[in-house]
């Protein structure tokens, strides 16, 4: 706490006894230490950049970039660039298209082109591949040749779509991820109702995430409290029980819920045996939303308990005692004194559970049935089944953005320094 007033500092700053500026001297003195520190963390930095930042960057890039059309159809792409929207395709355009299709077919990339167009306009994939097979015999006039190969080449909607996909960078995948599309004039419109899926699924994912966070809180709070007040040897034993699921494969935990909850499962059989329900009244507890909620609450519970416990353990019992001695009932003492002090743990646990919940994939896939699917299951679907990686990337980017917004909101409302992970 050196209170140096302005008058004590000479013009140009302090100097060392041998006349060097103090700032330079300090920087020199610390440079070596800084270099060593940097070298020490450099391997980690490289690791994080290569395995984390680069793939995420790639993913974000892929969500707006797809050169499946432009890279393989250079001539028609150039034609689209030269001619403004609304230009009727002329013979030059058809020539460019025909030669592109021919070359692309020869290079075995016509499927990639067709797939790219097919994302935007269903039913066009085979148009490209089948035309590609005939393309080596094409000759002038190319309009006639293409029309002879398939009459669909005259479809203005197809040309509008090709113009859109000829730009490697486009927001179309984000539009698709938000149930939006472009009409032939290029206006953004909603997709037909029967194909709207992502927005509702995002809402559902966040709703379920909230619900799972809340059930984790309801179950985790008393457990964490018990852990915090028990003598250490008992709480350590209990802690092992809390941590045990971590040492068990996720698949094993999820499938054991199947064994417990399915209609011919342990719980239903127990209920039938005890006469609470009839044999024909077995309850559907899995392969639906309920299954997702139960299994995910179980799997994510430790992530709520651990931060809560780490916050609760150091709270001395004297706070509640003080409140009681000051005239508060046990409920008031809990609500006004104990609970507020656990807020950093609640915040950390809830944020952790929520973020994990909205990104969870394997558990809803296994026990969620149709109604318990989350957005990540569709991301996986586009990664693995439909192979539309750009759309998967756009969905994932939206999920990431939503989580970041949430994090920002949390910081604004609660304060990120009020977060204690343990």
């Amino acid at each position: 706490m050196a209170d140096i007033t302005a008058s004590e500092i000479p013009a140009g700053g302090l100097v060392t006894s041998d006349g060097r500026p103090l700032k330079t001297a300090l920087a020199d003195a610390q440079a070596r230490a800084k270099r060593r520190a940097f070298l020490l963390v450099a391997p980690l930095l490289v690791f994080v950049v290569v395995t984390f930042i680069v793939p995420i960057g790639q993913m974000m890039h892929q969500s707006i970039y797809n050169d499946g059309f432009s890279a393989n159809m250079p001539r028609i792409t150039a034609w689209f660039a030269e001619n403004p929207i609304g230009t009727e395709p002329d013979e030059t355009a058809f020539e460019a298209l025909a030669l592109d299709v021919r070359d692309s077919a020869a290079a075995k990339t016509i499927g990639v082109v067709g797939t790219r167009v097919n994302y935007e306009m269903s039913g066009t994939r085979s148009l490209f591949t089948s035309t590609g097979r005939k393309a080596k015999d094409f000759s002038e006039p190319y309009h006639e040749a293409l029309r002879a190969a398939d009459a669909k080449w005259d479809n203005p909607e197809l040309w509008a779509t090709m113009r859109q996909v000829s730009r490697a960078y486009s927001p179309n995948f984000f539009l698709a991820a938000l149930d939006l599309t472009r009409d032939t004039q290029g206006n953004i419109v909603r997709v037909p109702e029967e194909r709207q899926v992502y927005v509702n699924l995002f809402i559902k994912t966040f709703g379920l995430g909230l619900l799972i966070t809340f059930t984790c809180f309801l179950l985790g709070f008393p457990i964490a409290h018990l852990l915090a007040i028990l003598p250490l040897r008992w709480s350590n034993l209990l802690m092992i029980l809390v941590l045990l699921p971590f040492w068990t494969s996720l698949l094993v935990r999820t499938t054991s819920w199947m064994v417990l909850l399915q209609q011919q499962g342990v719980l239903n059989s127990l209920l039938v045996w005890s006469g609470i329900i009839g044999d024909d009244g077995r309850i559907q507890m899995i392969y639906n939303q309920t299954g997702t909620i139960i299994a995910m609450t179980h799997i994510l519970l430790p992530f709520m308990i651990l931060p809560l416990y780490s916050v609760m353990r150091p709270i001395p019992p004297s706070y509640v005692r003080a409140a009681r001695s000051l005239g508060a009932t046990s409920w008031t003492a809990f609500r006004r004194v104990y609970l507020p002090q656990t807020l950093p743990g609640i915040g950390a646990g809830s944020l952790l559970v929520f973020i994990l919940a909205v990104g969870y994939y394997i558990t809803p896939a296994l026990v969620g049935g149709a109604s318990g699917q989350l957005i990540s299951n569709l991301i996986a679907f586009h990664m693995q089944d439909s192979l539309n990686w750009s759309l998967a990337a756009a969905l994932a980017a939206l999920l990431l953005a939503a989580v970041l917004v949430l994090y920002w909101l949390y910081d604004r409302l609660v304060g990120i320094d009020n977060l204690k992970l343990g």
Partner: protein
């Protein structure tokens, strides 16, 4: 101050407490505390004093016996209905509330109106000279300041009984002594009853009207500070309070409370019999170092003096402390005031020491 059963404000009647059902941490406690009294429970850790305080506050239940407050049994009354103010060892100020909110809390839970609350909070903070800190949070205060706030909070709802559980333990010596004075002052000006728990005998002697010395789940002695210091009832109290010389011996003669004790080396000394009952009994004679005399002119007529070797003399500023070999034990301590012209002893010197018979207390060995 002695208190009879009838006008006791707080009464422990045959209170016993066990945590494990095997052993007792509080064994048959009987204690009456008068209204307006400052009573200190003093003892080593594990002696049961804090347990007694917690039973009084309502955080522990008595296993057996009855605790009465103002004549009313309170065993079944939950802590928040007892109306007892309490100051905790670590202050227990609510960290998420400001000083003002901390003080307001007991008033709010009592459903008091806002203006009345503010007035009371102001009065309590003024009382500890902390009103300027009303908007601070506890973490922004020093230990001493937190201590004052904790005190103000325990007093703000006007309890007539305040419990303090080692409230000054975390403060440095100087601040502690200052706070002792302040607490004592508040006690006197407010006329409240205070039950104070500490393991610091100096604190207990300074502040209390009466001190209950706890050991092994029992009150060893209950007496005003001077009695406790000068007339310990047993060898535990004698050893626990202040410094004491202990000389083992056998009762040679016993008449009333006067006893002659023969020490191991064969010398005979005078002592006051406290809890020895017959001739030939083993005893431990306890003598305060500052009551030991080595100048024959200071001794009463006919009192015995015995030989001593000076082993070491330590200069301590206000006093001189001499370690002597007396009757075979070489840890016998004598304190001399460092007055002008005081005789300076040197190691190796042979002297004779003695004491007034009432200062040598023949106690039953533990």
């Amino acid at each position: 101050m002695s208190v009879s059963h009838n006008d006791a404000y707080v009464a422990f009647e045959h209170v016993q407490k066990s945590y494990d059902g095997v052993s007792l941490v509080v064994k048959d406690l009987n204690l009456n505390i008068g209204k307006g009294e400052f009573l200190t429970m003093l003892g080593p850790s594990g002696s049961g004093k804090t347990t007694c305080l917690m039973m009084l506050a309502g955080f522990e239940t008595a296993t057996n016996g009855e605790i009465k407050l103002d004549g009313r049994p309170i065993n079944q009354v939950p802590p928040h209905k007892r109306g007892i103010g309490m100051v905790f060892q670590n202050y227990a100020l609510f960290p998420h509330m400001t000083v003002g909110e901390n003080l307001s809390f007991p008033l709010e839970v009592r459903g008091m109106g806002k203006s009345e609350r503010e007035a009371k909070v102001k009065r309590a903070l003024d009382m500890v000279q902390m009103y300027d800190f009303i908007n601070r949070r506890p973490a922004q205060l020093s230990g001493g300041q937190q201590q004052r706030i904790a005190l103000a909070r325990a007093l703000v709802f006007d309890p007539s009984l305040v419990l303090m559980d080692e409230p000054l333990g975390a403060l440095d010596k100087q601040l502690r002594e200052h706070m002792q004075f302040e607490i004592k002052h508040l006690h006197e000006s407010l006329g409240i009853t205070v039950v104070y728990v500490t393991h610091d005998q100096g604190e207990a002697l300074t502040m209390s009207d009466r001190i209950a010395v706890f050991n092994d789940g029992r009150i060893q002695q209950l007496a005003p500070p001077a009695d406790l210091y000068e007339r310990p009832d047993n060898s535990f109290v004698a050893g626990f309070i202040g410094e004491n010389n202990k000389l083992p011996g056998i009762i040679e003669e016993l008449s009333g409370d006067k006893a002659l004790v023969r020490l191991a080396t064969g010398e005979v000394i005078d002592a006051t019999a406290v809890n020895v009952t017959q001739k030939g009994q083993k005893t431990l004679v306890s003598i305060r170092p500052e009551r030991v005399e080595f100048k024959p002119e200071m001794m009463p007529e006919g009192a015995h003096m015995i030989g001593a070797d000076v082993l070491e003399v330590i200069y301590m500023g206000d006093i001189l402390r001499a370690v002597l070999r007396v009757a075979g034990s070489d840890d016998f301590v004598m304190k001399m005031r460092n007055t002008q012209g005081q005789t300076r002893l040197t190691p190796g010197q042979k002297i004779r020491v003695g004491w007034h018979p009432q200062d040598a207390r023949a106690l039953e060995p533990m």
